[in-house]
């Protein structure tokens, strides 16, 4: 089968690869780049486990072809922690027990970060609608909402006064 050369920036690194035109972005990330933090849960754009940011917007990477992301900027869960420090959303999920099996968590966090970037101080209803494209089977959502509220508060404080994040737990 024909392949296409694509280039994109993934978590700040420039990557180049030859891919079949039919290859999904999620498979490109997982299998070509070994970024297995992004998961696959449903194949029908319903569950959101595969959510990544493409050019600043959350997308379900099971419904984007890798070639469509050519030239784009992709952020995945592996890029959330910076300089050995948790992103506030990671801290929030840990502090508020926002995850159990951990399978939906990467997609849920990417969606939450995107929400908070657009709407730094969402109401509970806005958070619930904001993550309504991401399914979690374990938590019943209450603690995920709290985790996002925690992160929102922290991000607002950081934007006001620069402040260190929590350390990444090994």
């Amino acid at each position: 089968m024909n392949t296409h050369k694509i280039t994109m920036t993934v978590n700040g690194q420039t990557v180049e690869a030859d891919v079949e035109p039919r290859m999904l972005l999620v498979h490109f990330l997982r299998e070509k780049l070994n970024l297995t933090g992004t998961h696959i849960g449903c194949d029908t754009t319903s569950c959101g486990a595969c959510t990544v940011q493409l050019n600043g917007t959350p997308v379900k990477s099971c419904t984007v072809l890798a070639v469509q992301a050519d030239g784009g900027v992709v952020n995945t869960v592996e890029g959330l922690a910076q300089n050995g420090q948790y992103h506030p959303i990671q801290e929030g999920f840990r502090e508020m027990h926002g995850l159990q099996c951990g399978f939906c968590t990467p997609g849920m966090m990417i969606t939450a970060v995107s929400l908070l970037e657009q709407n730094p101080d969402p109401t509970e209803d806005e958070i619930r609608w904001g993550i309504s494209g991401n399914l979690c089977r374990c938590t019943g959502y209450v603690n995920i909402v709290k985790a996002i509220q925690y992160a929102g508060e922290k991000m607002r404080a950081q934007n006001a006064v620069p402040q260190a994040n929590a350390e990444v737990h090994p």
């Binding site: 099996c101 958070i127 399914l135």
Partner: protein
């Protein structure tokens, strides 16, 4: 509240310790099955039947084999050469791995395609040409029992698999004859699917030189799987010491990852045939269409009592749809699981229950939905009917329950159907839930609203769970007794590793098991590494499902710790030059009675166990315990749900949901709360949204998440939780297990609330899921629908 006895530095029982496992999941470094990549690994994809019942006329693999990258197509005929085309189910029935002549349900496995990557494997699947001769299918189990119905199984006399009954039929009949009031309803609990967000899959790696199989697999019970694989493949030369099952991080299990699915077996066979590692990962449709389902119970429930509200007897007749083979993952002695817990929280004198298992042209399964072996069905039957009885005699459902509860002083309580409940205080839990929700005010509000024509309902479910399977005298799976295990090794520096026969799928075992050991030994939780899921290293156990980990393996952690403490005491006596009987244990150290400054810490003792142990004693500080529980545990709770019904759409809005749970001592309150939240969501889901639906030809109408509706954050209620603590008297730390309570208890509360809102119109029962069209039809039937 469970009060923590240990300091924050130790983090024993009662601490809301933050989870150890979070670090890897938060950073995308989990180790789920599809993350595994081995050199030379092939991908398996499966051809599935478009028909619910058909004879296979031919399977032509020419086009598939001509596809570049496709290496092999495995059919039933391939497997038949090795006599592995069929496999036994846990209920000693027969399940096809791949068919040699007929398919029995839509999406059944027909052939496996092996290719160099997943895309090519999918190409290969599309290029396998199968000719079918469709046969009549039977989808409704009641029709399956009628004379002349299409026969599902050629090897069986009829579509009835078994008849099971329990209790005293005659005494129950007498009680019904003598009752002042009897009520009866047909209640259907539909087929649902557990749908963990991670589907099932495996990587099988056969080493042809060492004749060694490594099987990474999404399994909740790795040790049992190893033994099953050894037993069914012994004739092929596989041997249990050369089979290693590894259960990696599991993306949700809920019972759906207990059974052995054909895909796993095909992957193993494919690896043996090719000598290469083979990966098989289900897509969502395969998961929904072929993996173990839950429920599908058609119940006729009758309740007898007196006009003063005293309940006397219960009778249930059930038709259970098992699909084309009986593959329910029940303990061997219990074909209907623990359904006979159906007398629930009530002091019922007489009960009789019977179930007929029936074959239909649907996939097999039966209990995989966070349900502790048919306890949800039992709870739904009794809790729904308790409301029907209360309303019928004009008594408030809360008062009715209070009147009929088993009283605290009656424990241990022997139920009419033979269970011995360990402990409980049902009235306290219900009263607490009533106080939290403001029950009396809500009833006043409801009356006012009803007068204005508004539809508001309040539903209660005061459930009793039955978990921790189980005592070896009654509980086994394929003959293997249902104990579970813990092995602890304390290292010279006082740190420890603990391994278990269970397998977490999100329940935080790595966090909470360490807390039990920390409580018992005083070693900080942070110094205790917990491992599960590798059969080469972990002690044998039956796995994690049916809320059994804390009652069994959690108990084993306690007992193994105490064994270590016994040895530690001897070492301490040696170090302190004191007699053993003069030593006093204070968490984390032994001191000499009367001289508290003469002590040795557990860390001192651990070091001495390797460097300065008494002559004549074995070196080392380790212990293992295989815990055989003396009884099951009986967690309980009371849930109250408040709903408002939209007369313009039939939509049910859950306004409040208060859940008071009593699971005995809480090891980690944060984790317990999380388990309850998740369990409530999985009770809410089948109550209002989820149903696996087939048309009359056996076509699955809900094969994806666009048609099978998992709840999102938007419709999921804001849970309000509370607790009471009634320890289990027989568990070493008084814990009972909690994973499934909420899923078991919640649906009845929601259904009761909806019926409560509509009772005055004449509605007596609505089968779950209570969807807007069902309610809308009722609103129209009773003339209260509003055109908007």
């Amino acid at each position: 509240m469970t009060q923590a006895q240990t300091p924050d530095t130790v983090q024993g029982i009662g601490h809301s310790r933050k989870r150890v496992e979070d670090a890897r999941f938060l950073q995308g470094r989990g180790n789920f099955i599809d993350d595994l990549k081995l050199p030379g690994m092939l991908h398996l994809s499966i051809v599935r039947s478009p028909y619910a019942h058909a004879r296979i006329k031919s399977i032509n693999t020419d086009r598939a084999m001509a596809t570049p990258g496709v290496l092999a197509v495995i059919t039933g005929e391939t497997l038949k050469q090795f006599n592995v085309h069929n496999m036994p189910t846990l209920m000693s029935d027969t399940q096809m791995v791949l068919p040699v002549d007929t398919v029995k349900y839509q999406y059944q496995e027909v052939a496996g395609v092996l290719a160099t990557d997943r895309y090519t494997a999918a190409d290969g699947v599309a290029a396998v040409d199968v000719e079918y001769d469709p046969l009549p299918a039977v989808v409704d189990p009641k029709k399956a029992l009628e004379p002349g119905a299409p026969k599902v199984r050629d090897d069986k006399p009829s579509n009835q698999i078994w008849h099971w009954e329990w209790g005293d039929e005659q005494k129950t009949e007498q009680a019904f004859n003598q009752a002042e009031v009897t009520v009866a309803e047909d209640i259907y609990i539909p087929r649902i699917h557990v749908s963990s967000i991670e589907t099932c899959g495996c990587v099988a790696q056969w080493d042809p030189v060492d004749k060694h199989l490594t099987l990474w697999m999404t399994t909740q019970a790795p040790h049992a799987i190893r033994t099953v694989v050894a037993l069914v493949t012994a004739h092929l030369g596989l041997s249990e010491e050369k089979i290693r099952v590894i259960s990696p991080d599991i993306g949700g299990g809920f019972g759906g990852k207990v059974p052995v699915y054909p895909g796993y077996v095909i992957a193993v066979a494919a690896s043996i045939v090719t000598g290469k590692p083979v990966k098989w990962i289900e897509n969502r449709t395969e998961n929904l269409a072929a993996d173990s389902f839950a429920r599908d119970y058609h119940m006729h429930v009758e309740l007898a009592g007196q006009t003063d509200g005293t309940l006397t007897a219960l009778r249930i007749n059930t038709i259970a749809d098992h699909g084309y083979t009986d593959a329910a993952a029940n303990p061997s002695k219990f074909p209907a699981g623990l359904f006979h817990i159906c007398t629930g929280s009530y002091n019922l004198k007489d009960a009789f229950v019977e179930v007929d298992g029936v074959y239909t042209n649907k996939p097999p399964g039966g209990i995989a939905y966070r349900c502790s072996f048919r306890v949800t069905e039992a709870v739904h039957a009794i809790e729904r009917m308790a409301d029907v009885m209360a309303h019928t005699i004009g008594m408030d459902p809360a008062e009715f329950r209070m009147k009929n509860f088993i009283k605290p002083e009656q424990f241990p309580y022997k139920s009419a159907l033979g269970w011995e409940y360990d402990s409980g205080n049902y009235g306290a839990a219900l009263r607490k839930a009533m106080d939290m929700v403001g029950y009396e005010d809500l009833r006043r509000e409801q009356a006012e609203k009803r007068a204005r024509g508004e539809l508001m309902g309040i539903g209660i479910s005061s459930f009793t769970e039955i978990v921790g399977a189980g005592p070896s005298k009654d509980f086994d799976i394929l003959g293997i007794k249902m104990f579970d295990s813990c092995e602890i090794r304390v290292h010279p520096t006082g740190k420890a590793i603990a391994r278990f026969g269970t397998k977490s799928q999100g329940q935080a075992h790595e966090t909470t098991y360490a807390q039990i050991i920390a409580e018992e030994l005083g070693i900080p939780s942070d110094h205790i590494k917990v491992e599960e899921g590798d059969t080469d290293t972990a002690p044998y156990g039956l796995g994690t499902y049916a809320s059994r980990s804390t009652p069994t393996a959690g108990a084993a952690a306690s007992i193994a710790s105490r064994k270590i403490r016994d040895k530690a005491k001897k070492i301490a006596a040696h170090l302190l030059e004191a007699a053993e009987e003069d030593l006093v244990w204070e968490r984390g150290k032994f001191y000499v009675k009367g001289s508290p400054d003469r002590f040795k810490t557990i860390q001192d003792i651990a070091f001495a166990a390797y460097t300065n142990h008494p002559q004549g004693m074995e070196a080392g500080l380790e212990a293992v315990d295989y815990y055989d529980p003396p009884n099951l545990t009986y967690p309980f709770g009371s849930y109250i749900c408040v709903v408002d019904i939209d007369r313009g759409t039939g939509a049910v809005k859950v306004r409040r949901f208060v859940a008071v749970d009593d699971c005995g001592v809480r090891i980690n309150p944060m984790v317990v709360e999380g388990q309850i939240h998740g369990g409530l969501a999985m009770g809410f889901a089948p109550a209002l949204l989820e149903e696996i639906i087939y048309d009359e030809n056996g076509n699955l109408l809900t094969p994806n998440f666009m048609d099978y509706l998992l709840p999102t954050a938007v419709e999921t209620p804001r849970w309000e939780t509370g607790e009471t603590v009634t320890p289990s008297p027989h568990h070493p730390i008084g814990a009972k297990g909690v994973g499934e309570s909420a899923t078991v208890g919640a649906p009845a509360a929601i259904a009761n609330a909806v019926v409560d809102a509509l009772w005055h119109l004449g509605v007596r029962n609505i089968d779950i899921p209570i969807t807007p069209p069902k309610v809308w039809a009722l609103l129209n039937q009773y003339g209260v629908a509003v055109e908007e």
